[in-house]
Amino acid sequence: MTGVLIVACDDLASACGVDPNALEAALRMRSGAVRLRTVAGVCGDARALAAAVEGEAAAVLALCAPRLTRGALQTAVRRAGLDPLGVPVVSLRARCAPHPPDVAVARAETILAGAVARARAFRGSRPEQVRARPTRLRSRRSLLLADVEYEPVAAVARARCAAMAGCALCVPICPAGALVRDDGHVSLDRSRCDGCGACVAACPREAIEIPAYRDEELWAEIGALLAGADGALGSRGIAFFCRHVELSGEAPGWLPVVLPSLRLLTPVWIVRCLDAGANAVAVLECEICVNESLRAGVAWCGALLGAIGADPYRARLVGPSGLAAPPPPAGSVHRSEPTFLGEAAAVLSLVDAERPSDGAELTHPGSPFGRVSVGVERCTLCGACAKACPTGALALLETPSERALTFDHACCVACGSCERTCPEGRGVVGVVRSTSPKLLRAGPVALVRDEQARCVRCGAPIAPGTMLGRVAALLGKEHAALMPTLMRCCSTCRVLAGEDHPTTRTMSPTGEVPLVR
């Protein structure tokens, strides 16, 4: 386990009501290899900060409230040899001072345990994932007076991206228009990206990441916030908020998780928190970040809770005063080991804990899952929808005797690519946003299946019966004479027998068969 140094301001006791010695002892018990070093005036002293962190493998800054600019803090950390994106800065005054002393220490300990876990989980950043923040520089001359502030931006991993298969779900989602699709790839214009993470949430392939906000980094913090006994903290809620909003006031029981933007937050994150033992999850309203899809997603969480007999109020969007009351007390809450679960697994885990029966299907505009249905009469099993599906939720399964279109609810993100690509026109393939625990559990199920017509000469599959029927309909009466051949032989044998184009029959004298189509 990586040793983590917590650099704490020596004013913590007077400014935040937190005794550093009590804090260190508690954190050792909780987070293992942790050291705490108090440094005089570190909230406003970059030199002292750099000297304290020098040579450490990982660090957390426990400040009353930083009096340095973010750029100056980053420079100090960098000088000491650490990547600033991996060093959490915790402002304890706003988080702890309004609380009674025992609660203040418990809060500081829990919040710092989250920061320590996050510092440990940090996986580094590449040059293209970091960018100088443009708004800070008012004039060239001021450049070196107020240090340049860097912020993480998104990066697309081409190896995972499904753009080649036609996926471009992230492109229209980006509020800055920073993503473009050209020659089969999605690429990011770094100068436009503001690192909000909307694309990360939209990508069904986990091909986009923002350093310091990767799944495992965020989850490390949340898991640590929720671990351990309640003690002085009482009931525990997770409060997600963005960099545009500051946590103010007492907010008893609410533990803050700061995101670059709420657009990074998918509804399943809320489910994960609830499943890992959060009494409630609040998302702090922000004018910049909150959009219809976030509203719908949070509402879906509430509806899901309601559907399984839990308090729907445990997941909601709140205004600035929404954190004044503590999260609802335990009630139906269970606290599982905080392991990171995939989307479907997280939902099923919560459903199982609350109501171990299958649970009814929940159709809701905010559902992160979709359910595809196919009109069996008109589907020809051509497989175009499966090819277009960016997540592999739809797949074409072929055996010598049968062709089937299968659907895996757990992988479907309701993107609608299948609906749009179906060559049979509107209404054959349909998607609704819905969540069905039963289907999530079921894995891939066949939506349409049909026997394959087999070649009378070589036995190879020709096409499903439905597709041949469709071809017959297209050919109409005039060309009906072609059908018996089409249904009897595969394309290869048709060529060999000269039934398609007699001129292409070229049997070689040696018996080798050059295939000419």
């Binding site: 000088r79 040899g81 520089l137 004039s139 450049l143």
Partner: protein
């Protein structure tokens, strides 16, 4: 020194050092490269303000010790840039990465004209005009001009900034990421992998920084 002049000097020296590190380390070049790296390590205050600092510092650390085993350094150079058989060597030349219908001659001609506009010609040391060391040396030259101009002729300094940005975008920034990526995958590249990472980080962040300076008003503090 004016802060902007100090920044230009730092950037120029960094370009020069990275370029020099990517030339064959013969008896004449190696000692001066090591000397430059050691000198640059003495002052880290300014460099630490920028995001290229960490990979750059790792690179300086390695370069400062590069004369310990000159033999293995040279064989790493030859292996990496000249002969490595699997997938071909990491050719440190723009024309190996930029296609767009341009032949090698065209790229080199374009660069030589660009250098000539600043009154520079090739020194005749054998490197082609599109060699990474030559392109970065030209960036270093432009930064030097900028640094000198800040104290006397601010408009000239601004012009320099514009030319640095245009050249960086048109040339090194276009192919260096691909070159560095290839270097990262090269087997037994040794120190050159570290140099490649630093070069990639520096060019990426310098491009951002020049963009930032270009959009900021020249106004007073």
């Amino acid at each position: 020194m004016l802060p902007l002049a100090a920044l230009a000097r730092l950037r120029g020296r960094t370009y020069r050092a990275i370029g020099a590190a990517l030339l064959y380390p013969d008896d004449r070049r190696l000692p001066s490269l090591v000397e430059l790296a050691r000198e640059m390590r003495r002052d880290r205050v300014l460099a630490a303000s920028f995001a290229f600092y960490l990979p750059w510092w790792r690179c300086l650390d390695a370069l400062a010790k590069a004369d310990a085993e000159p033999g293995s350094l040279r064989s790493a150079y030859v292996r990496t840039f000249l002969v490595e058989p699997i997938g071909g060597p990491c050719v440190p030349q723009e024309s190996a990465y930029v296609d767009g219908g341009k032949g090698m001659g065209e790229v080199i001609g374009e660069l030589e004209r660009e250098y000539a506009l600043s009154g520079l010609t090739m020194a005749g040391t054998g490197e082609p005009a599109d060699h990474i060391a030559v392109e970065l040396d030209f960036m270093a030259f432009l930064c030097g001009e900028e640094a000198a101009a800040w104290g006397s002729d601010e408009r000239e300094a601004e012009r320099c900034l514009g030319r640095e940005r245009a050249f960086l975008i048109a040339h090194p920034a276009r192919w260096l990421p691909a070159f560095a990526e290839r270097l990262g995958r090269a087997p037994r590249a040794g120190i050159y992998r570290i140099v490649g990472e630093a070069a990639h980080a520096f060019v990426q962040h310098d491009r951002d920084l020049l963009g930032l300076l270009a959009t900021a008003s020249p106004g007073t503090p």
